[in-house]
């Protein structure tokens, strides 16, 4: 494992994985949910994570995001060991995530949601003596992000009045507000209509090429188009890792997973 | 929404009342009654309130053509609320004198304010030693007792009665420690030995069982306690239930067998020794007359709380008569109190000009069964007990 300072913004050399989860094992009680899973993501890679319900996708996600400390194994972010770091530290190291179930500030407006994320991203959250309104850089970047993601129409709408699809978009917008190196997306199209799914797909595809993506997705078609590589999890184990084509053609995957669709 | 309107009306009325209350007749002498009408000592406050009213009924509600108006304020049994209440009496109601105060915490809290305002205060219960000692004030007179005064002579007396060892128990607060320390001093000086002591937390002790086990283990000749009110009842009952009654003599500051609680302790209290400035069984015409009157009015025995409040009313009226109803010269009123001397239900008493504390008899009483009831019978009298100045330089 290289210990170069690859975590510095601007993405490290291509031979250092920007995200490296090594031999992650975790149990809940007697249930083995993640069994020696290893993931390596190169900078700018778009990586898909699939598997049936209970395959341990979300657990692995939470381990990478820092919500759960694994029983064994390690997580490195840009060469830095973050296995024991809290989620907020990882976020500050450039790891952002969306949630499977919308996890927003529902009684605040879109603008306020994005400004909160912006305040953290601009590292001004601790400023207690200067009015928030006067931190123009924060609000400006919130607005430009909204524009970039097509949320400018609803900037001053309270989140709980938004449609589900728009809330889902905001979910990702909040993560993007941090200007992360790595973005973890947990089922970005879950519960969406076909139109909303298409819009979401377009939005993800339009993300900057330098951004590393790890996406859990149920909709195979979404992943096959988006991902450079895919990891198939099954009962906590890695069943297969490869390109979308390899996964699509794999007999095992067909019988175990695609067949179930 | 009707509720809102009612609330608005209540608030408006509240503000209005604040502006109108002070406008009262000039000629009346106003006496502030500062008692806990609510809170933990609410019952005692009511007891003293009734006795003060009775006192002014008996000794006059008029002095030199000036009527006497009582203005009442609630201390809630809390120091800060008590301080707010005394300010209210002095500033808002503009009273000429203040009478009352049950708890020593409230007295400690109001002391500086009362002293600074130069308003005479007649304390009807709270027994903090330092209020008529180190922190004494020319404006604060006490008709009840000081904690030390009640138990000082009890130590030597108990030792003289043949009790060689004692276990001390009181709640862990200033009054508790004052009582125990005073008893210990006298008891040890007369050859007694303290074999153990326990100070349960005030207000948080639900059960004396744990402490009784401790007493049992220490095996003293007597256990000397200071508990009053609910805890006194509880202690006596648990004492009997744990089978201690026949093994160890229970004794204490006399609230243990006070008229207020002794009947509720019932047979469990029989044999208990206490020292106090008043017991209903004092055999004097003054006491019989007072008890008769109190029983007629309230259907129960008058207590030491009632007596102190009643005597306070008498002291105030006598002093005001001496000044010819003049309340402008407050110092003259206090001075007049020093000259007042009378025999009340509890016996002869006067105010000690050295400390402003009362000089009075202290009685030792033992509870005995009387028919199907119980009562404390006087066994010994310490006459005219007077506190040393304790650092007071009046």
């Amino acid at each position: 494992m290289s210990t170069t300072t690859a975590h510095a913004r601007g993405h490290g050399s291509t031979d250092t994985p920007i995200l490296h989860a090594e031999a992650i094992t975790h149990t809940f009680g007697s249930l083995l949910v993640t069994d020696s899973v290893t993931l390596e993501l190169a900078p700018g890679e778009r990586h898909g994570l699939i598997g049936p319900n209970g395959a341990g996708k979300t657990t692995l996600f939470n381990i990478i995001a820092g919500e759960i400390v694994p029983d064994s194994g390690s997580v490195h972010l840009g060469g830095v060991d973050v296995t024991r770091l809290k989620p907020d530290r990882r976020a500050r190291l450039g790891l952002a995530r969306s949630f499977q179930h919308n996890n927003l500030f529902t009684d605040l407006t879109v603008r306020e949601n994005l400004s909160i994320a912006g305040a953290i991203a601009h590292r001004v959250g601790h400023v207690a003596w200067r009015a928030f309104a006067r931190h123009r850089e924060v609000h400006a970047s919130a607005e430009s992000l909204a524009v970039a993601l097509g949320l400018e129409e609803v900037l001053d709408t309270v989140v709980r009045h938004l449609s589900y699809g728009t809330q889902r978009q905001l979910e990702i917008a909040l993560a993007l507000a941090l200007d992360p190196m790595i973005l973890l997306l947990d089922e970005p199209t879950a519960g969406m209509s076909p139109e909303e799914t298409a819009a979401m797909k377009a939005m993800i595809a339009a993300l900057p090429a330098s951004l590393t993506l790890l996406v859990i997705e149920h909709d195979m078609e979404v992943l096959f188009d988006l991902a450079d590589r895919i990891t198939v999890l099954d009962y906590g184990k890695v069943l297969l890792q490869g390109t979308p084509r390899e996964v699509r053609d794999s007999d095992v995957v067909r019988s175990r997973y695609l067949g179930m669709q | 929404m009707n509720g809102k309107r009612i609330m608005a009306a209540a608030l408006a009325a509240a503000l209005l009342a604040g502006t109108t209350a002070a406008a009262n007749a000039q000629s009346d002498i106003k006496i502030g009654v500062l008692l806990p009408y609510s809170g933990v000592f609410g019952g005692l406050g009511k007891d003293q309130d009734a006795a003060i009213e009775m006192g002014f009924d008996d000794f006059g509600r008029e002095v030199a053509d000036r009527g006497i108006t009582l203005v009442k304020a609630d201390t809630e049994s809390k120091p800060n609320a008590g301080l707010a209440a005394v300010k209210k009496l002095i500033l808002r109601d503009k009273v000429d004198l203040v009478v009352g105060i049950i708890s020593s915490g409230v007295l400690a809290a109001v002391r500086d304010y009362v002293h600074g305002s130069e308003t005479p205060l007649i304390v009807t219960n709270a027994g903090n030693v330092d209020i008529t000692g180190e922190r004494c004030s020319p404006w604060i007179v006490r008709t009840s007792f000081s904690n030390a005064q009640i138990v000082r002579d009890m130590g030597p007396w108990m030792a003289g009665e043949g009790y060689g060892t004692a276990f001390l128990m009181a709640f862990d607060y200033a009054a508790g420690h004052q009582m125990m320390d005073t008893f210990r001093e006298g008891f040890e000086a007369s050859g007694g030995r303290i074999v153990g002591e326990a100070y349960p937390p005030l207000g948080e002790t639900k059960d004396f069982g744990p402490y009784l086990a401790q007493v049992k283990a220490a095996d003293p000749d007597t256990v000397f306690v200071f508990f009053a009110g609910g805890p006194a009842i509880k202690f006596a009952k648990e004492w009997a239930a744990f089978g201690m009654k026949d093994e160890v003599q229970l004794s204490g500051a006399g609230w243990l067998n006070s008229a207020l609680y002794v009947k509720k302790q019932g047979a469990d209290a029989v044999g208990t020794l206490g020292a106090l400035n008043y017991y209903p069984s004092i055999d004097t015409p003054e006491n019989h007359a007072w008890q008769e009157k109190f029983r007629a009015a309230h259907g129960r025995d008058g207590s030491e709380f009632g007596v102190a409040a009643y005597d306070s009313a008498r002291l105030i009226v006598s002093a005001l008569e001496a000044t010819g109803g003049n309340t402008d010269d407050k110092a003259a009123i206090v001075k007049a109190m020093h000259a007042v001397e009378f025999t009340g239900p509890r016996g002869p008493l006067r105010i000690d000009p050295m400390t402003n504390n009362v000089i009075q008899n202290i009685y030792v009483a033992q509870v005995e069964a009387r028919g199907d009831s119980v009562a404390a019978a006087i066994r010994h009298t310490f006459p005219a007990v007077q506190d040393p100045p304790n650092g007071c330089t009046l």
Partner: protein, 292 residues
Amino acid sequence: MLLDPGFLIVQTLNGLQLSMLLFLLSIGLSVVFGMMNFINLAHGTLYMVGAYLALSSVRWFDSYWVALVLAPLGVALIGAVFYAVLLRHMQRQSPMRQVLVTFGLIFVGFDAVRMVWGALPHTIPIPAALDGSVTVFGEIYPTYRLFIIALGVTVLIALHFGLERTRLGAVVRAGVDDRRMVAALGIDVERAFFLVFCLGCWLAGLAGVVSAPVFSIFPGMDMSILILTLIVVVVGGPGSLKGAVVGSFVIGMVDTYGQVLAPELARVTIYALMAAVLLVRPQGLFPVSQAH
């Protein structure tokens, strides 16, 4: 002292007796919290009212046993009225509001008791059959206190079987685990809430009656017991039946022994214990998993 077996026996029985009293109080509070997600701060008031109703029953009927039956029923009735008049209409509002209403009731209850029964302390006599003492392992111990322990154990066993064997028990167990699931099963949750709430009130009233002959009855007796009960619930883990049992036992014992072994700290022992438990287990000893 600790080497004196007599001291240990008496002290342990004292601890058990307090534990049982706390159990009667905390079990209702905890289950109501588990099912309805609100803490009834007027629970101590119900306990106090139970003691006062016992006082009145003894005055009228001259029998402790009548009081033991009537007073808890009276308290349950008060609880039922309170539920019907206030709580039922607040079901859909935030639990915080319900808690606040019960907070207001503490003040109302305190003064109401003073108005009806006066502010002076009272007691009721120990029933003749239980008066006196028995010898336990060579130590004299009050019979009535043994009765409290026995009563607590009886209630504990009855509740255990009630929960395991009855339909209401099944609903309660399920409701503590996952309220939505119970509702989804089409069970009349409302009715179950009501019954559990009344049962909790009944138990609080029962605790008030049984403690009346040992402790004195006075306005304000509700506060100290309320805090202690809340501590039991929190230490055990709100909503957990096992937690209420273990919490009562731990707090009862620590309080009883702590007062004598560490008198200097008597006032803080329990608080320190609770703080320590919460720092190690932020959800109490037996946390109830918050099912999604």
